[in-house]
Symmetry: C2
Subunit: 260 residues, 2 copies
Protein backbone atom coordinates (compact mmCIF):
# COMPACT_ATOMS: atom_id res chain seq x y z
CA UNK A 1 0.00 0.00 0.00
CA UNK A 2 1.24 3.45 -0.91
CA UNK A 3 1.99 5.75 2.04
CA UNK A 4 2.12 9.54 1.94
CA UNK A 5 3.82 11.18 4.89
CA UNK A 6 4.22 14.79 3.79
CA UNK A 7 1.46 17.38 3.40
CA UNK A 8 3.64 18.88 0.66
CA UNK A 9 3.24 15.78 -1.50
CA UNK A 10 2.04 16.79 -4.98
CA UNK A 11 -0.95 14.39 -4.93
CA UNK A 12 -2.11 15.78 -1.57
CA UNK A 13 -1.84 19.32 -2.93
CA UNK A 14 -4.04 18.35 -5.88
CA UNK A 15 -6.60 16.68 -3.59
CA UNK A 16 -6.69 19.70 -1.29
CA UNK A 17 -7.70 21.82 -4.30
CA UNK A 18 -11.04 19.97 -4.26
CA UNK A 19 -11.94 22.26 -1.35
CA UNK A 20 -12.47 24.89 -4.07
CA UNK A 21 -15.59 24.84 -6.23
CA UNK A 22 -13.60 25.63 -9.40
CA UNK A 23 -11.49 22.49 -9.05
CA UNK A 24 -14.44 20.33 -8.02
CA UNK A 25 -16.20 21.30 -11.23
CA UNK A 26 -13.07 20.78 -13.33
CA UNK A 27 -12.49 17.35 -11.84
CA UNK A 28 -16.09 16.25 -11.36
CA UNK A 29 -15.00 15.10 -7.90
CA UNK A 30 -15.22 16.21 -4.29
CA UNK A 31 -13.41 15.47 -1.05
CA UNK A 32 -15.34 13.54 1.59
CA UNK A 33 -14.24 13.39 5.23
CA UNK A 34 -15.22 11.20 8.17
CA UNK A 35 -15.81 7.51 8.73
CA UNK A 36 -19.63 7.59 8.90
CA UNK A 37 -20.07 9.10 5.43
CA UNK A 38 -17.28 7.05 3.87
CA UNK A 39 -18.83 3.87 5.25
CA UNK A 40 -22.10 4.85 3.54
CA UNK A 41 -20.18 5.34 0.28
CA UNK A 42 -18.46 1.94 0.61
CA UNK A 43 -21.74 0.21 1.40
CA UNK A 44 -23.90 1.91 -1.22
CA UNK A 45 -21.88 3.48 -4.03
CA UNK A 46 -18.34 2.07 -3.97
CA UNK A 47 -17.96 2.79 -7.70
CA UNK A 48 -18.00 6.52 -6.88
CA UNK A 49 -14.94 6.19 -4.61
CA UNK A 50 -11.85 7.11 -6.62
CA UNK A 51 -9.37 7.11 -3.76
CA UNK A 52 -9.28 6.47 -0.02
CA UNK A 53 -6.83 8.30 2.27
CA UNK A 54 -6.62 6.76 5.71
CA UNK A 55 -4.50 7.09 8.83
CA UNK A 56 -3.09 3.89 10.32
CA UNK A 57 -5.65 3.51 13.12
CA UNK A 58 -8.63 3.45 10.73
CA UNK A 59 -6.90 1.28 8.10
CA UNK A 60 -8.22 -2.10 9.32
CA UNK A 61 -11.84 -0.82 9.40
CA UNK A 62 -11.60 0.77 5.97
CA UNK A 63 -9.78 -2.03 4.15
CA UNK A 64 -12.07 -4.70 5.61
CA UNK A 65 -14.95 -3.01 3.79
CA UNK A 66 -13.05 -1.67 0.78
CA UNK A 67 -11.61 -5.07 -0.09
CA UNK A 68 -15.10 -6.44 -0.65
CA UNK A 69 -16.21 -3.76 -3.08
CA UNK A 70 -15.08 -2.05 -6.25
CA UNK A 71 -13.70 1.10 -4.58
CA UNK A 72 -10.54 2.85 -5.78
CA UNK A 73 -7.14 2.32 -4.13
CA UNK A 74 -6.32 3.12 -0.51
CA UNK A 75 -3.35 5.27 0.51
CA UNK A 76 -2.09 5.44 4.06
CA UNK A 77 -1.58 8.98 5.34
CA UNK A 78 -0.04 10.60 8.42
CA UNK A 79 -1.61 12.92 10.99
CA UNK A 80 0.21 15.80 9.29
CA UNK A 81 -1.53 15.03 6.00
CA UNK A 82 -4.86 14.85 7.85
CA UNK A 83 -4.24 18.30 9.31
CA UNK A 84 -3.73 19.67 5.81
CA UNK A 85 -6.81 18.05 4.28
CA UNK A 86 -9.29 18.35 7.12
CA UNK A 87 -11.90 21.06 7.43
CA UNK A 88 -13.20 19.88 10.81
CA UNK A 89 -12.06 20.58 14.35
CA UNK A 90 -11.64 16.94 15.37
CA UNK A 91 -10.66 15.09 12.17
CA UNK A 92 -10.87 11.32 12.10
CA UNK A 93 -8.11 10.88 9.53
CA UNK A 94 -10.35 9.19 6.94
CA UNK A 95 -10.88 10.86 3.55
CA UNK A 96 -12.19 9.84 0.14
CA UNK A 97 -12.15 11.41 -3.30
CA UNK A 98 -15.67 10.90 -4.63
CA UNK A 99 -16.88 11.16 -8.22
CA UNK A 100 -19.88 13.48 -8.46
CA UNK A 101 -22.99 11.59 -9.44
CA UNK A 102 -24.30 11.26 -12.97
CA UNK A 103 -27.97 11.70 -13.76
CA UNK A 104 -29.70 8.42 -13.09
CA UNK A 105 -33.11 7.79 -14.54
CA UNK A 106 -35.35 6.32 -11.89
CA UNK A 107 -37.87 3.58 -12.53
CA UNK A 108 -41.24 4.87 -13.66
CA UNK A 109 -42.99 1.87 -12.10
CA UNK A 110 -42.82 3.04 -8.52
CA UNK A 111 -42.30 6.75 -8.87
CA UNK A 112 -40.63 8.60 -6.01
CA UNK A 113 -40.77 12.36 -5.53
CA UNK A 114 -37.95 14.83 -6.07
CA UNK A 115 -36.98 17.72 -3.81
CA UNK A 116 -35.87 20.79 -5.78
CA UNK A 117 -33.81 23.64 -4.30
CA UNK A 118 -34.28 26.94 -6.11
CA UNK A 119 -31.15 28.93 -5.15
CA UNK A 120 -30.97 27.74 -1.54
CA UNK A 121 -27.82 29.42 -0.18
CA UNK A 122 -27.06 28.11 3.28
CA UNK A 123 -24.88 24.98 3.31
CA UNK A 124 -26.41 23.64 6.53
CA UNK A 125 -29.92 24.06 5.17
CA UNK A 126 -29.06 22.39 1.85
CA UNK A 127 -27.26 19.42 3.41
CA UNK A 128 -30.00 18.89 5.99
CA UNK A 129 -32.60 18.94 3.21
CA UNK A 130 -30.75 16.10 1.44
CA UNK A 131 -30.66 14.11 4.69
CA UNK A 132 -34.37 14.72 5.29
CA UNK A 133 -35.29 13.86 1.67
CA UNK A 134 -33.47 10.56 2.19
CA UNK A 135 -35.45 9.86 5.38
CA UNK A 136 -38.73 10.79 3.66
CA UNK A 137 -38.08 8.30 0.85
CA UNK A 138 -37.46 10.80 -1.96
CA UNK A 139 -35.72 9.81 -5.24
CA UNK A 140 -33.30 12.69 -5.06
CA UNK A 141 -32.53 16.36 -4.60
CA UNK A 142 -31.95 18.83 -7.42
CA UNK A 143 -29.67 21.84 -6.88
CA UNK A 144 -29.99 24.89 -9.13
CA UNK A 145 -27.35 27.22 -10.53
CA UNK A 146 -27.11 30.31 -8.37
CA UNK A 147 -27.47 28.32 -5.16
CA UNK A 148 -24.90 26.62 -2.94
CA UNK A 149 -22.73 23.97 -4.59
CA UNK A 150 -23.93 20.54 -3.39
CA UNK A 151 -20.32 19.36 -3.01
CA UNK A 152 -19.25 22.23 -0.77
CA UNK A 153 -17.72 20.60 2.30
CA UNK A 154 -20.25 22.10 4.73
CA UNK A 155 -23.15 20.88 2.62
CA UNK A 156 -21.59 17.43 2.42
CA UNK A 157 -21.06 17.32 6.19
CA UNK A 158 -24.75 18.07 6.80
CA UNK A 159 -25.79 15.36 4.33
CA UNK A 160 -24.33 12.74 6.72
CA UNK A 161 -23.90 10.20 3.92
CA UNK A 162 -27.44 10.52 2.52
CA UNK A 163 -25.97 11.46 -0.89
CA UNK A 164 -25.19 7.73 -1.24
CA UNK A 165 -28.84 6.77 -0.72
CA UNK A 166 -30.48 9.01 -3.29
CA UNK A 167 -29.61 11.09 -6.35
CA UNK A 168 -28.08 14.53 -6.03
CA UNK A 169 -28.18 16.56 -9.24
CA UNK A 170 -27.16 20.07 -10.19
CA UNK A 171 -29.03 21.39 -13.21
CA UNK A 172 -28.21 24.53 -15.19
CA UNK A 173 -31.81 25.44 -16.07
CA UNK A 174 -34.26 24.58 -13.34
CA UNK A 175 -37.38 25.63 -15.24
CA UNK A 176 -36.46 23.40 -18.19
CA UNK A 177 -35.75 20.50 -15.88
CA UNK A 178 -39.11 20.93 -14.13
CA UNK A 179 -41.06 21.19 -17.38
CA UNK A 180 -39.36 18.01 -18.63
CA UNK A 181 -40.45 16.29 -15.42
CA UNK A 182 -44.01 17.39 -16.01
CA UNK A 183 -43.89 15.93 -19.53
CA UNK A 184 -42.76 12.69 -17.87
CA UNK A 185 -45.91 12.75 -15.75
CA UNK A 186 -44.72 14.50 -12.61
CA UNK A 187 -46.84 17.03 -10.72
CA UNK A 188 -45.00 20.28 -9.99
CA UNK A 189 -45.54 21.54 -6.43
CA UNK A 190 -44.21 24.95 -5.50
CA UNK A 191 -44.09 26.58 -2.06
CA UNK A 192 -44.97 30.12 -1.10
CA UNK A 193 -44.95 31.96 2.22
CA UNK A 194 -48.42 33.27 1.45
CA UNK A 195 -51.72 32.22 3.06
CA UNK A 196 -53.35 32.80 -0.34
CA UNK A 197 -51.47 29.76 -1.65
CA UNK A 198 -52.93 26.27 -1.10
CA UNK A 199 -52.84 25.08 2.51
CA UNK A 200 -50.74 21.89 2.51
CA UNK A 201 -53.54 20.16 4.46
CA UNK A 202 -55.92 20.66 1.53
CA UNK A 203 -53.68 18.99 -1.05
CA UNK A 204 -52.87 15.39 -1.86
CA UNK A 205 -50.48 14.46 -4.66
CA UNK A 206 -51.96 12.12 -7.29
CA UNK A 207 -49.06 9.68 -6.80
CA UNK A 208 -45.42 9.61 -5.76
CA UNK A 209 -44.60 11.30 -9.08
CA UNK A 210 -44.11 14.89 -8.00
CA UNK A 211 -41.38 17.49 -7.63
CA UNK A 212 -41.51 19.75 -4.57
CA UNK A 213 -39.73 23.09 -5.01
CA UNK A 214 -38.37 25.14 -2.09
CA UNK A 215 -36.99 28.61 -2.67
CA UNK A 216 -34.15 30.86 -1.58
CA UNK A 217 -33.96 31.73 2.15
CA UNK A 218 -34.54 35.46 1.65
CA UNK A 219 -36.54 35.64 -1.56
CA UNK A 220 -38.43 32.36 -1.81
CA UNK A 221 -39.14 30.70 -5.16
CA UNK A 222 -38.49 32.68 -8.33
CA UNK A 223 -41.83 34.07 -9.60
CA UNK A 224 -41.22 32.56 -13.07
CA UNK A 225 -41.02 29.13 -11.43
CA UNK A 226 -44.06 29.68 -9.20
CA UNK A 227 -45.98 30.63 -12.35
CA UNK A 228 -45.52 27.20 -13.97
CA UNK A 229 -46.32 25.06 -10.92
CA UNK A 230 -49.42 22.86 -10.85
CA UNK A 231 -50.03 24.11 -7.32
CA UNK A 232 -48.24 26.33 -4.82
CA UNK A 233 -48.42 25.13 -1.23
CA UNK A 234 -47.92 26.86 2.06
CA UNK A 235 -47.28 25.55 5.56
CA UNK A 236 -49.85 26.95 7.98
CA UNK A 237 -48.49 29.14 10.78
CA UNK A 238 -50.41 28.74 14.06
CA UNK A 239 -48.33 31.16 16.13
CA UNK A 240 -46.71 34.50 15.35
CA UNK A 241 -43.53 33.50 13.48
CA UNK A 242 -43.41 35.22 10.10
CA UNK A 243 -42.00 32.19 8.36
CA UNK A 244 -40.20 28.91 8.85
CA UNK A 245 -36.57 28.08 8.14
CA UNK A 246 -36.45 26.62 4.62
CA UNK A 247 -35.09 23.23 5.73
CA UNK A 248 -37.85 23.03 8.36
CA UNK A 249 -40.57 23.92 5.85
CA UNK A 250 -39.20 21.31 3.45
CA UNK A 251 -39.28 18.64 6.17
CA UNK A 252 -42.83 19.40 7.24
CA UNK A 253 -44.00 19.35 3.61
CA UNK A 254 -42.13 16.20 2.61
CA UNK A 255 -43.55 14.26 5.54
CA UNK A 256 -47.03 15.72 5.11
CA UNK A 257 -47.07 14.79 1.41
CA UNK A 258 -45.62 11.32 1.97
CA UNK A 259 -48.05 10.54 4.80
CA UNK A 260 -51.13 11.90 3.04
Amino acid sequence: MQKIESPKNEQIKQIKKLQQKKYRQQQGQYLLEGWHSIKEALNNRPEQIKLLLVEADYLPLVTALANQVSAGPTIEITARVTETLSETVHPEGVFAVIAQQETVVTSAEQPQPWLVLDRVQDPGNAGTMVRTADAAGFAGVVFSEGGIDPWNSKVVRSMQGSQFHLQVLQVPDLKNWLLAQRTAGYQLLGTLVDPKATDMRAFQPASGAYALVLGNEAHGMAPELAAVMDVNLYVPIFGHAESLNVAIAAAILMYQLQLN
Copy 2:
Protein backbone atom coordinates in the same frame (compact mmCIF):
# COMPACT_ATOMS: atom_id res chain seq x y z
CA MET B 1 -30.64 61.61 23.90
CA GLN B 2 -27.36 60.22 25.22
CA LYS B 3 -24.72 59.50 22.58
CA ILE B 4 -21.78 57.13 22.96
CA GLU B 5 -19.01 57.55 20.42
CA SER B 6 -16.19 55.44 21.80
CA PRO B 7 -16.06 51.65 21.96
CA LYS B 8 -13.94 52.13 25.09
CA ASN B 9 -16.84 53.71 26.96
CA GLU B 10 -17.35 51.91 30.28
CA GLN B 11 -21.06 51.20 29.64
CA ILE B 12 -20.26 49.66 26.24
CA LYS B 13 -17.61 47.46 27.88
CA GLN B 14 -20.20 46.24 30.39
CA ILE B 15 -22.74 45.55 27.64
CA LYS B 16 -20.18 43.66 25.57
CA LYS B 17 -19.67 41.31 28.52
CA LEU B 18 -23.18 40.00 27.88
CA GLN B 19 -21.61 38.01 25.04
CA GLN B 20 -20.36 35.73 27.81
CA LYS B 21 -22.69 33.26 29.49
CA LYS B 22 -21.30 34.03 32.96
CA TYR B 23 -22.28 37.71 32.71
CA ARG B 24 -25.64 36.94 31.12
CA GLN B 25 -26.49 34.77 34.10
CA GLN B 26 -25.19 37.33 36.60
CA GLN B 27 -27.20 40.12 34.99
CA GLY B 28 -30.26 38.13 33.90
CA GLN B 29 -29.95 39.94 30.57
CA TYR B 30 -28.70 39.28 27.05
CA LEU B 31 -27.62 41.36 24.06
CA LEU B 32 -29.92 41.31 21.04
CA GLU B 33 -28.80 42.50 17.61
CA GLY B 34 -30.65 43.37 14.41
CA TRP B 35 -33.74 45.35 13.52
CA HIS B 36 -36.10 42.43 12.80
CA SER B 37 -35.73 40.89 16.26
CA ILE B 38 -35.73 44.22 18.07
CA LYS B 39 -38.92 45.22 16.26
CA GLU B 40 -40.52 42.00 17.54
CA ALA B 41 -39.41 42.90 21.06
CA LEU B 42 -40.83 46.43 20.76
CA ASN B 43 -44.12 45.13 19.38
CA ASN B 44 -44.60 42.23 21.77
CA ARG B 45 -42.53 42.55 24.97
CA PRO B 46 -41.34 46.16 25.32
CA GLU B 47 -41.11 45.73 29.10
CA GLN B 48 -38.18 43.32 28.54
CA ILE B 49 -36.15 46.00 26.72
CA LYS B 50 -33.79 47.61 29.23
CA LEU B 51 -31.78 49.67 26.75
CA LEU B 52 -31.65 50.40 23.02
CA LEU B 53 -28.37 51.20 21.25
CA VAL B 54 -28.91 52.59 17.78
CA GLU B 55 -26.82 54.18 15.03
CA ALA B 56 -28.14 57.43 13.55
CA ASP B 57 -29.66 55.94 10.37
CA TYR B 58 -31.93 53.56 12.32
CA LEU B 59 -32.85 56.11 15.00
CA PRO B 60 -36.08 57.39 13.37
CA LEU B 61 -37.39 53.83 12.84
CA VAL B 62 -36.56 52.76 16.39
CA THR B 63 -37.77 55.83 18.24
CA ALA B 64 -41.04 55.93 16.27
CA LEU B 65 -41.85 52.52 17.78
CA ALA B 66 -40.08 52.90 21.13
CA ASN B 67 -41.88 56.15 21.98
CA GLN B 68 -45.23 54.37 21.91
CA VAL B 69 -44.25 51.62 24.34
CA SER B 70 -42.70 51.15 27.74
CA ALA B 71 -39.20 50.25 26.53
CA GLY B 72 -36.03 51.41 28.28
CA PRO B 73 -34.03 54.43 27.11
CA THR B 74 -32.37 54.77 23.70
CA ILE B 75 -28.70 55.70 23.29
CA GLU B 76 -27.24 56.76 19.97
CA ILE B 77 -24.04 54.94 19.04
CA THR B 78 -21.40 55.25 16.33
CA ALA B 79 -20.26 52.73 13.73
CA ARG B 80 -17.16 52.10 15.86
CA VAL B 81 -19.35 51.07 18.80
CA THR B 82 -21.33 48.80 16.48
CA GLU B 83 -18.11 47.13 15.37
CA THR B 84 -17.27 46.37 18.98
CA LEU B 85 -20.68 45.03 19.94
CA SER B 86 -21.62 43.13 16.79
CA GLU B 87 -21.19 39.40 16.30
CA THR B 88 -22.41 39.42 12.69
CA VAL B 89 -20.64 40.07 9.40
CA HIS B 90 -22.97 42.82 8.21
CA PRO B 91 -24.22 44.54 11.38
CA GLU B 92 -27.22 46.84 11.17
CA GLY B 93 -26.18 49.04 14.07
CA VAL B 94 -29.25 48.26 16.19
CA PHE B 95 -28.84 46.56 19.58
CA ALA B 96 -30.92 46.01 22.67
CA VAL B 97 -30.23 44.79 26.18
CA ILE B 98 -33.06 42.38 26.95
CA ALA B 99 -34.16 41.06 30.32
CA GLN B 100 -34.36 37.26 30.29
CA GLN B 101 -37.92 36.08 30.67
CA GLU B 102 -39.53 35.07 33.93
CA THR B 103 -41.67 31.97 34.23
CA VAL B 104 -45.15 32.83 33.09
CA VAL B 105 -48.03 30.59 33.99
CA THR B 106 -50.17 29.99 30.93
CA SER B 107 -53.91 29.80 30.99
CA ALA B 108 -55.27 26.34 31.69
CA GLU B 109 -58.42 27.04 29.70
CA GLN B 110 -56.91 26.66 26.25
CA PRO B 111 -53.80 24.64 26.97
CA GLN B 112 -50.92 24.89 24.51
CA PRO B 113 -48.08 22.37 24.29
CA TRP B 114 -44.48 22.87 25.40
CA LEU B 115 -41.36 21.87 23.51
CA VAL B 116 -38.62 20.59 25.81
CA LEU B 117 -34.92 20.39 24.85
CA ASP B 118 -33.00 17.78 26.80
CA ARG B 119 -29.36 18.92 26.44
CA VAL B 120 -29.60 20.04 22.82
CA GLN B 121 -26.13 21.43 22.05
CA ASP B 122 -26.13 23.10 18.65
CA PRO B 123 -27.11 26.79 18.73
CA GLY B 124 -28.62 26.72 15.23
CA ASN B 125 -30.74 23.69 16.11
CA ALA B 126 -31.95 25.21 19.39
CA GLY B 127 -32.81 28.60 17.91
CA THR B 128 -34.58 27.05 14.93
CA MET B 129 -36.61 24.87 17.30
CA VAL B 130 -37.84 27.99 19.13
CA ARG B 131 -38.81 29.57 15.80
CA THR B 132 -40.63 26.40 14.70
CA ALA B 133 -42.39 26.02 18.06
CA ASP B 134 -43.66 29.58 17.60
CA ALA B 135 -44.98 28.76 14.11
CA ALA B 136 -46.60 25.56 15.40
CA GLY B 137 -48.47 27.47 18.10
CA PHE B 138 -46.64 26.13 21.15
CA ALA B 139 -46.76 27.87 24.55
CA GLY B 140 -43.00 27.84 24.94
CA VAL B 141 -39.66 26.08 24.84
CA VAL B 142 -37.84 24.71 27.88
CA PHE B 143 -34.03 24.52 27.88
CA SER B 144 -32.25 22.17 30.27
CA GLU B 145 -29.02 22.54 32.20
CA GLY B 146 -26.20 20.86 30.28
CA GLY B 147 -27.45 22.10 26.94
CA ILE B 148 -26.78 25.28 25.01
CA ASP B 149 -27.65 28.54 26.79
CA PRO B 150 -30.86 29.94 25.20
CA TRP B 151 -29.38 33.46 25.27
CA ASN B 152 -26.19 32.54 23.41
CA SER B 153 -26.02 34.98 20.47
CA LYS B 154 -26.13 32.25 17.81
CA VAL B 155 -29.22 30.70 19.40
CA VAL B 156 -30.86 34.12 19.58
CA ARG B 157 -30.04 34.82 15.91
CA SER B 158 -31.74 31.59 14.84
CA MET B 159 -34.82 32.41 16.94
CA GLN B 160 -35.51 35.38 14.63
CA GLY B 161 -37.57 37.17 17.26
CA SER B 162 -39.79 34.20 18.16
CA GLN B 163 -38.64 34.48 21.80
CA PHE B 164 -41.02 37.46 22.01
CA HIS B 165 -44.01 35.37 20.90
CA LEU B 166 -43.75 32.48 23.33
CA GLN B 167 -42.07 31.59 26.65
CA VAL B 168 -38.42 30.53 26.78
CA LEU B 169 -37.42 28.93 30.07
CA GLN B 170 -34.26 27.34 31.39
CA VAL B 171 -34.89 24.86 34.20
CA PRO B 172 -32.27 23.31 36.47
CA ASP B 173 -34.01 19.94 36.88
CA LEU B 174 -35.82 18.84 33.76
CA LYS B 175 -37.28 15.67 35.26
CA ASN B 176 -38.84 17.60 38.15
CA TRP B 177 -40.24 20.19 35.78
CA LEU B 178 -41.79 17.48 33.60
CA LEU B 179 -43.30 15.62 36.54
CA ALA B 180 -44.83 18.88 37.79
CA GLN B 181 -46.35 19.40 34.35
CA ARG B 182 -47.86 15.94 34.48
CA THR B 183 -49.39 16.75 37.87
CA ALA B 184 -50.89 19.83 36.18
CA GLY B 185 -52.56 17.55 33.63
CA TYR B 186 -50.00 17.52 30.83
CA GLN B 187 -49.17 14.38 28.83
CA LEU B 188 -45.43 13.71 28.60
CA LEU B 189 -44.28 12.73 25.09
CA GLY B 190 -40.72 11.60 24.59
CA THR B 191 -38.92 10.86 21.34
CA LEU B 192 -36.66 7.94 20.50
CA VAL B 193 -34.76 7.00 17.34
CA ASP B 194 -36.09 3.47 17.68
CA PRO B 195 -38.73 1.78 15.54
CA LYS B 196 -39.85 -0.08 18.69
CA ALA B 197 -41.14 3.23 20.05
CA THR B 198 -44.63 4.41 19.07
CA ASP B 199 -44.95 5.52 15.43
CA MET B 200 -46.04 9.17 15.54
CA ARG B 201 -48.83 8.30 13.08
CA ALA B 202 -50.40 5.99 15.65
CA PHE B 203 -50.61 8.60 18.41
CA GLN B 204 -52.94 11.47 19.11
CA PRO B 205 -52.54 13.73 22.16
CA ALA B 206 -55.64 13.94 24.37
CA SER B 207 -55.56 17.75 24.14
CA GLY B 208 -53.14 20.62 23.64
CA ALA B 209 -51.84 19.93 27.15
CA TYR B 210 -48.63 18.03 26.41
CA ALA B 211 -44.87 18.44 26.63
CA LEU B 212 -42.80 17.07 23.73
CA VAL B 213 -39.21 16.23 24.65
CA LEU B 214 -36.37 16.12 22.10
CA GLY B 215 -32.94 14.86 23.10
CA ASN B 216 -29.28 15.63 22.62
CA GLU B 217 -27.95 15.45 19.02
CA ALA B 218 -25.55 12.57 19.68
CA HIS B 219 -27.16 10.71 22.55
CA GLY B 220 -30.89 11.41 22.31
CA MET B 221 -33.07 11.69 25.40
CA ALA B 222 -31.64 10.70 28.75
CA PRO B 223 -32.90 7.19 29.62
CA GLU B 224 -34.16 8.41 33.02
CA LEU B 225 -36.40 10.88 31.20
CA ALA B 226 -37.58 8.39 28.59
CA ALA B 227 -38.56 6.09 31.48
CA VAL B 228 -41.09 8.56 32.94
CA MET B 229 -42.77 9.56 29.66
CA ASP B 230 -46.39 8.64 28.96
CA VAL B 231 -45.34 7.59 25.49
CA ASN B 232 -42.14 7.69 23.44
CA LEU B 233 -42.65 8.59 19.78
CA TYR B 234 -40.52 8.04 16.73
CA VAL B 235 -40.60 9.63 13.29
CA PRO B 236 -40.84 6.91 10.60
CA ILE B 237 -37.88 6.73 8.18
CA PHE B 238 -38.93 5.74 4.66
CA GLY B 239 -35.47 5.90 3.06
CA HIS B 240 -32.03 4.91 4.31
CA ALA B 241 -31.03 7.81 6.54
CA GLU B 242 -30.14 6.57 10.01
CA SER B 243 -31.81 9.49 11.72
CA LEU B 244 -33.06 13.02 11.30
CA ASN B 245 -31.48 16.25 12.47
CA VAL B 246 -33.04 17.06 15.88
CA ALA B 247 -34.58 20.37 14.73
CA ILE B 248 -36.09 18.58 11.72
CA ALA B 249 -37.53 15.77 13.86
CA ALA B 250 -38.98 18.34 16.26
CA ALA B 251 -40.65 20.22 13.38
CA ILE B 252 -42.19 17.10 11.85
CA LEU B 253 -43.49 16.00 15.27
CA MET B 254 -44.83 19.41 16.31
CA TYR B 255 -46.77 19.79 13.09
CA GLN B 256 -47.96 16.18 13.09
CA LEU B 257 -49.23 16.49 16.68
CA GLN B 258 -50.85 19.89 16.09
CA LEU B 259 -52.57 18.73 12.90
CA ASN B 260 -53.75 15.41 14.28
